[in-house]
Amino acid sequence: MPVMSYIQAVTTALREEMHRDEKVFVLGEDVGKKGGVFRATDGLYDEFGEHRVLDTPLAESAIAGVGIGAAMYGMRPVAEMQFADFIMPAVNQIISEAAKMRYRSNNDWDAPITIRAPYGGGVHGALYHSQSVESIFANQPGLKIVIPSTPYDVKGLLKAAIRDNDPVLFFEHKRAYRLLKGEVPEDDYVLPIGKADVKREGSDITIITYGLCVHFALQAAEKLAEEGIDAHILDLRTIYPLDQEAIIEAAKKTGKVLLITEDNKEGSIIGEVAAIIAENCLFDLDAPIQRLAGPDIPAMPYAPTMEKYFMVNPDKVEKAMRDLAEF
């Protein structure tokens, strides 16, 4: 089985889907000749031509809005926002239009667009190249939000997003792009959107997280296993709508739950996860639900000291996990 990086899995999924379905096309800033600022669309322009790998003007609302229009016609656009931080001008199109298209037309129209965007910090990206923006969209019924954690998940979930008949926001952690490598099957597989995935079975504490933080948790779990602490790790994969069943099951499994996000703490998606657990698992809880998240400051600063202070990292995760295990 070939080993590839997280970003190569993105490219592979795009390429395979473009071969599979002629209606699939890519649009965004610098996605064509350059192959994307992170090189996520590397080689696609040469392979499929400028009409299917479209360099657009620098205007995010148009990228989303034109994509939505094409999707309404029956195309399968994959729009790229160069950084999740720059999705803001497109929020009206995503929330007012894509999210509500099916509902407002009483199932007459739909908008099967996939919008990809690199998110997350730890790359010296400062305030506007580091943000986690998922919570802005995570209370918009009609949208689906996928955040994969491994190259394997990237390929299976991006394919699922492209084939999904509803709009999907697909956030890729930019630090994971080249940091994470893993085995990715060559065959055409699709992973279910809306289903969380147990990344590690354990009986002492439950970690529920997503994206790059899954790896921090896995790393910490291996270390803690030597001390006899056995961590259960649930990767949300789809952070909206949440897989309530899996969350409840994972929380009940140990009764001690640590929720991790790289986003600012207050109002982040893990607050919703905590609410689901509180509603459903009271008599299985053995400790207060814990959250590990970024501080409530606007975004991650540039200077390495402050960036490190903001970012979740394996040490912070390990400490939080041990703390909960000892409770």
Binding site: G69, Y103, R104, N106, N107, D108, W109
Partner: protein, 330 residues
């Protein structure tokens, strides 16, 4: 007869009479909705009155079998021309389950009907413009010869989506026709406080497309401009911007009182140029709208409006729990 204006545009007598009939139906449905609103039967009306000529004239210039339209909330004339029925519009007014636009989910004026290629619209203005550009992009990618047609008010032409969408269309040379229905008011704010350029059409130059300003009260002038734009589009010559100038004869909506911001004399003056009157006069002048025909048209439209009202008023609402349906594909 071959020297009439409509004949010169290639329009048959039946065609122009059909245009008039559509304009009048839009007007009469609109008027009925105001009555129903004031009678407390429907909560909200937003009008097409004063803009029927532009809406119907443009629609008749399009290929109503294959072209896509992204109308805005005043475009009753456009959707009627594209196949939506009076009954369906009334169902929307009453928010009944059978409403094809939204099944009673959206306010009236939020059109959408896939079988007639009418894109679903929302309340935030100008969001439909990039959608029309996207449809045009699909036409280009799929090498189809349909065009997309999008309308909006002049106030909406200040939105980022206007600029972003038209620039995108210009850069990629897409078959999309944008018609700004300039009715001189964005709710209460007049055009001179909305737009710094002399006309909306002036903006076209920066998007690399032709822009024309025409008389929106003259359906034939609008027909001619849109016809030309459509030919350019299907010939691969790219997008066009058309500014059709008319006047909003009613308040912004049933919730607005326009006496607070404009003089009634101004409205009375505009009524003299009302296309329903002027176009009828033209048709009479060229001998198409005879007294007999006019009588028949008035009668049939009254019947249609009455029937639509009765049907819609008695139609059932959607089940309350159906509010939960169609958030995602089911």
């Amino acid at each position: 007869m071959s020297n009439t204006r409509h004949a010169e545009l290639g329009l048959s007598d039946e065609k122009v009479l059909d245009m008039y009939r559509t304009m009048l139906l839009a007007r009469k449905l609109d008027e009925r909705m105001w009555l129903l609103n004031r009678a407390g039967k429907i909560p909200f009306v937003i009008s097409c009155q004063g803009q029927e000529a532009a809406q119907v004239g443009a629609s008749f210039a399009l290929d109503r079998e294959i072209d896509y339209v992204a109308p805005y909330y005043r475009d009753m004339g456009v959707v009627l021309a594209f196949g939506m029925t009076a009954k369906e519009l009334m169902l929307s007014g009453f928010a009944k389950a059978e409403d094809p636009n939204s099944g009673g989910r959206q306010m009236p004026g939020h059109f959408g009907q896939k079988k007639n290629r009418i894109l679903s619209g929302s309340s935030p203005v100008t969001t439909q413009l990039p959608h029309a550009v996207g449809i045009a992009l699909a036409a280009k990618m799929e090498k189809k010869d349909f065009v997309s047609f999008v309308t909006l008010g002049e106030g909406s032409s200040n939105q980022g989506d206007f600029h972003e969408g038209l620039n995108f269309a210009g850069v990629h040379n897409l078959p999309v026709i944008t018609m700004v229905e300039n009715n001189k008011y964005a709710i209460s704010v007049p055009i001179e406080k909305q737009i710094a350029s002399k006309t909306v059409a002036d903006r076209a130059v920066s998007y690399g497309m032709p822009g024309v300003t025409i008389d929106g009260n003259d359906p034939l002038a609008v027909y001619e401009a849109v016809k030309e734009a459509r030919e350019r589009a299907v010939n691969g010559e790219g997008p066009s911007l058309i500014e059709a100038v008319s006047y909003r004869l009613t308040a912004h909506s049933s919730d607005d009182d326009d006496r607070t911001y404009r003089e009634s004399e101004e409205v009375e003056e505009a009524r003299k140029k009302d296309s329903i009157i002027t176009f009828a006069a033209y048709l009479k002048e060229v001998g198409i709208l005879t007294e007999e025909v006019e009588k028949e048209i008035n009668k049939s439209i009254t019947d249609i409006v009455n029937e639509a009202t009765d049907y819609a008023e008695n139609a059932p609402y959607a089940e309350a729990e159906s509010a939960l349906k169609y958030v995602y594909e089911e």
